[in-house]
């Protein structure tokens, strides 16, 4: 656990056109094909929405990108370098943070503790190294700084997370990922458990993460949310990418048609596709 890294400094932007890229990913579970030659790409500073019907294999793709499953074949590149993740922890060490839909926070613990869970800042010298003594003041100050960075009004970092609303809790999870991610933030249905107003609050946070320079992969079933924030839309269908769409041109209805297979991508006008 690296307590010394400066979590706020994103790595210098590489020359590679894609922050993250996957080519021809295949994953089979017995006779079930979860990924059938799936491609993926993510440019610096964009929000890429990933949509797909249930069973389209979109969660297999996301699991492969976040290290939760290992594909049978295919390649993943991070900043142009081939990479393979053995676990979500491994992906995290490589600067990829994931925010889960089910609010993966420890409710009885404080905001500051949740932000630094598993990556606590320790006291300098032997006190920290040997006795793993926490530098509570520094953690508190850093927590204030990160939460301020996301313009997220919370009075005290010493509040237990369970005293927050659902949207605020998700805000803690987003702040946490934004603070530590160096390359990519993956958000798996971050608004699914939330009400309308809280959902909008989290959408704002997602934009803030992008505007701070981190590209975001947003998995969502919520079409209005996708159209509100996404720069491009990756449509997943039958285990692979069916199309890359431009949400500024294509309608929500056509997007759903592509997703369900009612409309083939080659039937779309070229400006509806994203490049």
């Amino acid at each position: 656990m690296t307590a010394t890294q400066n979590p706020s400094a994103p790595a210098p932007r590489p020359a590679a056109p894609f922050v993250m890229e996957a080519r021809n990913l295949v994953k089979k579970y017995g006779s079930v094909i979860a990924m059938n030659g799936a491609d993926f790409e993510l440019r610096p500073g964009e929000i890429m929405a990933v949509i797909g019907d249930n069973g389209a294999g979109k969660s297999s793709l996301i699991k492969a990108l976040s290290g939760a499953t290992i594909p049978d074949s295919g390649e993943i590149f991070l900043d142009g370098q081939p990479i393979s993740f053995k676990s979500p922890i491994d992906a995290r060490k490589n600067g990829i943070e994931t925010v889960y839909q089910d609010l993966a926070v420890a409710p009885a613990m404080t905001i500051a503790e949740n932000l630094f869970l598993g990556r606590e800042i320790l006291k300098p010298g032997p006190l920290g190294r040997l006795f793993r003594l926490l530098d509570k003041k520094k953690m508190h100050d850093e927590a204030v700084r990160h939460m301020q960075g996301l313009q997220f009004a919370i009075k005290s970092m010493k509040q237990p997370v369970e005293t927050l609303s659902g949207g605020q809790r998700q805000g803690v999870a987003v702040a946490r990922s934004a603070a530590f991610a160096r390359h990519v933030v993956i958000m798996d249905e971050p608004t699914a458990a939330l009400g309308v107003r809280e959902g909008n609050m989290v959408l704002d946070l997602i934009r803030q993460v992008r505007d701070s320079g981190l590209p975001v992969i947003l998995i969502s079933h919520n079409m209005p949310h996708v159209f509100e924030v996404a720069d491009r839309i990756h449509v997943h269908r039958m285990g692979k990418r069916a199309a890359l769409l431009n949400p500024k041109v294509i309608s929500m209805a056509d997007t759903v048609s592509v997703m369900t297979g009612a409309l083939r991508p080659d039937e779309l006008s070229p400006d509806m596709l994203a490049h």
């Binding site: 656990m1 979500p88 922890i89 995290r92 994931t98 889960y100 089910d102 993966a104 926070v105 420890a106 409710p107 009885a108 613990m109 503790e113 869970l117 598993g118 990556r119 606590e120 320790l122 006795f131 793993r132 003594l133 926490l134 509570k136 313009q151 997220f152 009004a153 919370i154 009075k155 509040q159 237990p160 369970e162 005293t163 927050l164 609303s165 949207g167 605020q168 805000g171 107003r197 809280e198 909008n200 609050m201 704002d204």
Partner: protein
């Protein structure tokens, strides 16, 4: 930019409620202190309070281990029996085997640590729930204690084994070194739990194991460390037990499984893990000790003592549940 402004409205109210579960026992203790002081002239004295601390010392030390385990949403039902085994090993090594007293004590510590370690292996490798794993261990070690000792108590212990029963004086009140050891252990446990990263990880594991795992906390390794450390604490409790009774007793520790859990729960630590603190456990142990001592002094039969302990534990958990439901 939407600024969240009103959504903390429910926050402060919910924030206060968890303290209900520690406030309740504290009030019960205060009432008990007043009632016993009025009813018995011998109750409110330094000597009697020192006696209460002495009486609770080994159970209270066991309860530290139980607290650590319950914080990670585990439980240890073999706690008292393993302590008894530790005491037997110390006594037997030092007398029948002629091992120097210091090594005999270390042998006892090692024994209790091994059984803590074994519990953790059963839980983490065989995926047996802690309740079942330690229930099985309770049976195994009970039999082991009887065969190992031949169901005989072991007498004539060397002075070092009973040294923690010796006293020093503060004013006119004699206090055992065992009491000091108990209080020191509580301070250490409190410090580790609140000020170190592994201490906070215990709370995270009990609070939301999935979040802990995704944060890179090695849950199984932490579980092994917790149960083995608890084992060491049982060893220290065993030394306190031997010092207090002066013998190695194969029948010791039979009520301490539940007594230690009572102390933890009365102290406001949730049996579901992730919430509570070790100083609450000390409060819980003191409450049990004060009720036992006080009821005895005012001449209430011991049957009713366990009755009142029973009511206390149900009331404490009910309070905890009510505060949780409202939160």
């Amino acid at each position: 930019m939407t600024q969240p402004t009103v959504s903390t409205a429910a926050g402060p109210r919910r924030f206060q409620l968890p303290s209900l579960s520690t406030l309740g026992p504290l009030i019960a203790l205060l009432i008990a202190l007043i009632v016993f002081s009025v009813q018995s002239p011998r109750f409110f004295s330094g000597t009697n309070f020192s006696l209460i601390l002495q009486q609770i010392s080994y159970t209270a030390v066991l309860a530290i281990g139980q607290t650590l385990i319950i914080l990670i949403a585990g439980i240890d039902l073999s706690i008292g029996i393993v302590m008894a085994l530790g005491g037997l090993v110390m006594a037997k090594l030092a007398t029948e085997n002629g091992v120097p007293a210091v090594l005999a004590i270390l042998g006892g510590f090692l024994t209790t640590m091994v059984f803590g370690f074994l519990n953790a292996q059963i839980i983490t490798r065989l995926r047996v729930p802690p309740f079942i794993a330690t229930l099985g261990m309770l049976g195994i070690v009970t039999a082991l204690n009887q065969t190992y000792s031949g169901s005989q108590t072991i007498n004539n212990l060397p002075p070092l084994l009973t040294a923690l029963g010796n006293t020093f004086k503060i004013g006119s009140t004699a206090i055992t070194y065992g009491t000091v050891v108990m209080l020191l252990l509580y301070l250490i446990a409190w410090f580790v739990l609140s000020e170190t990263a592994p201490g906070r990880h215990l709370y995270a594991v009990g609070n939301n194991p999935e979040a802990a795992r995704l944060s890179g906390i090695p849950i199984d390794r932490l579980t092994v460390i917790v149960y083995t450390t608890a084992g060491l604490i049982y060893g220290i409790a065993a030394l306190l037990l031997v010092a207090r009774t002066g013998v190695g007793d194969p029948n010791a520790g039979q009520t301490d499984n539940l007594d230690s859990i009572t102390a933890v729960v009365l102290g406001g630590t949730s049996l579901f893990g992730g919430r509570g603190n070790v100083m609450g456990t000390l409060l819980g142990a003191v409450i049990v000790g004060v009720f036992r001592n006080g009821l005895q002094l005012i001449g209430i039969p011991s049957v009713f003592q366990s009755l009142i302990t029973g009511i206390l534990i149900i009331a404490a958990v009910a309070l905890d549940q009510i505060s949780r439901r409202k939160a």
